[in-house]
């Protein structure tokens, strides 16, 4: 019984920290882009503008909860909730440190892939239910993009499953004690990261919401808190892909011995995650957006064969006991 309460406490702490950290990420991103583009970024609310996201959140709560009369009302309201639930559910299987994590699921990796696939419903339903042309175009693009990048997201992780022999994320981390999988699975990591950027609709793959051509894509008609949920979902998606990359390729909370004793495991884990999050932001500042058909063709023509060849090469190397 004591354990049950402890677990419930842990769950509420994790949930209570995830959402504010997504809000902080918005601030971090705006500040960093400001620095890289040689301008200030938000610097008025609190020291260094650190409270900007919370000011935005309070303001958004006071905005009208508008449901367009021309929309498909029930689906319109449910769509952003689906998105936020799917992304937050994926965090349930992530092992943050040796003993922190919501659930130690045997099929953790498959659970993550399933939730990542379900998240597209939110975007497609939002685009469809809005009954607006920009929104519909954005939703259709999101469907095509997800369908194309979903395929090799799963394939790119198979090298890791092959080497560790488990779908359990905790066991995958522990099997990296002799060396992180990034050494042997570099190609797999690159393919997974690209698929992850596409799944979380980030630049350069943010075609479903490309503001220069589609205004705001699938969430053109959304405002107030429902818009904030999409926004939250996107930033949580960035954190999710970074967390998963660290768990699968960068040894999770593990560090080589002299370093490991300096800081607690959870701190090492969060440090690695924040480095990857910065890579996401750096990509956003530096890369232009491709044309939509180029984006899709790139996925099918290069990424899918690359993921398959990576799997075959890994299998041969593992069978000949090179790695």
């Amino acid at each position: 019984m004591h354990d049950t309460w402890l677990k419930l406490f842990e769950i509420s702490i994790i949930l209570g920290l995830l959402i504010p950290s997504a809000a902080m990420l918005v601030w971090v991103e705006r500040r960093l882009i400001g620095i890289w583009q040689d301008r200030l970024g938000p610097n008025r609310v609190g020291p260094f503008g650190i409270l900007q996201s919370f000011a935005d959140l309070i303001k958004i709560l006071g905005k009208e909860d508008w449901v367009p009369p021309f929309s498909d009302k029930l689906v319109f309201i449910v769509a952003p909730v689906i998105g936020a639930v799917c992304v937050l559910m994926s965090f349930a299987v992530i092992p943050f440190s040796p003993n922190i994590g919501v659930a130690d699921l045997n099929i953790g990796l498959l659970f993550f892939l399933a939730m990542a696939s379900l998240a597209v419903y939110s975007v497609v339903l939002a685009g469809w239910a809005s009954n607006s042309k920009y929104a519909l175009l954005g939703g259709m693009r999101a469907a095509a993009q997800t369908v194309s990048y979903e395929v090799f997201m799963g394939l790119s992780l198979m090298g890791v499953v092959l080497l560790s022999g488990s779908f359990n994320l905790r066991e995958i981390v522990l099997s990296q004690q002799s060396g992180w999988f990034i050494q042997t699975q570099f190609v797999g990591f690159i393919v997974f990261f690209i698929a992850g950027i596409a799944e979380s609709h980030r630049l350069p793959f943010d075609l479903p919401e490309a503001e220069t051509e589609l205004t705001a894509g699938f969430h053109t008609e959304y405002s107030g808190l429902k818009f904030a949920l999409f926004f939250l979902g996107e930033y949580l998606g960035v954190m999710l892909i970074s967390c998963m990359s660290v768990v699968l390729f960068f040894g999770g909370w593990l560090m080589p011995e002299p370093l490991a004793s300096w800081l607690p495991a959870i701190v090492w884990y969060l440090l690695k995650v924040s480095v990857l999050v910065m890579v996401f932001i750096l990509l956003r500042t530096s890369l232009p957006r491709p044309r939509f058909d180029q984006l899709l063709l790139f996925g099918w023509k290069y990424m899918l064969p690359l993921a398959l060849v990576n799997l075959l090469v890994t299998a041969v190397l593992a069978l000949t006991e090179v790695i």
Binding site: M89, S148, V151, F167, L312
Partner: protein, 141 residues
């Protein structure tokens, strides 16, 4: 059975907490939000143009073929997951069977690329289709 429950109940609890929290946020914003009545508020946004046939618009789905390929290649992923998790047990025989499977699919992908099924832009050239046809037959002669 006991182990399964201990794995799954935290996820169920997490899910419930999550949904309650999100619904509470939605209700809070509904209560706190302002309610404005403005004439142009209830029109779909179309960059300033008054919307025409807003809910009857249909776009051609160029992406339909991708959805079909997705079904094929995603099923492949499921089969491969089954092989990968049993990799150590299946050894070389398993690898040979899996690689036959992978090479058939790679060949299928190459075929799809060669017949132009993967290119979206081809579809937009339907006006020029006749001229392309003529050039093609001329080459054959």
């Amino acid at each position: 059975m006991g182990e399964q429950v201990s794995q799954i109940w935290p996820i169920a609890a997490y899910f419930l907490t999550l949904v309650i929290m999100l619904v509470a946020m939605m209700i809070l914003s509904h209560v706190l939000g302002t309610k404005a009545k403005l004439p142009a508020k209830n029109l779909p946004y179309e960059s300033g143009v008054i919307s025409v046939n807003a809910n009857k618009t249909r776009f051609t789905s160029h992406f339909f073929l991708y959805a079909v390929f997705f079904v094929i290649f995603d099923l492949e992923t499921i089969f491969l997951f089954a092989w990968v998790i049993a990799f150590k047990e299946s050894g070389w025989p398993g690898f040979i069977e899996a690689s036959v499977f992978i090479f058939i699919l790679l060949a299928a992908l190459l075929y799809l690329y060669r017949v132009g099924a993967l290119s979206l832009t081809r579809r937009h050239l339907s006006i020029k289709a006749d001229t392309i046809q003529i050039n093609h037959t001329e080459k054959e002669r």
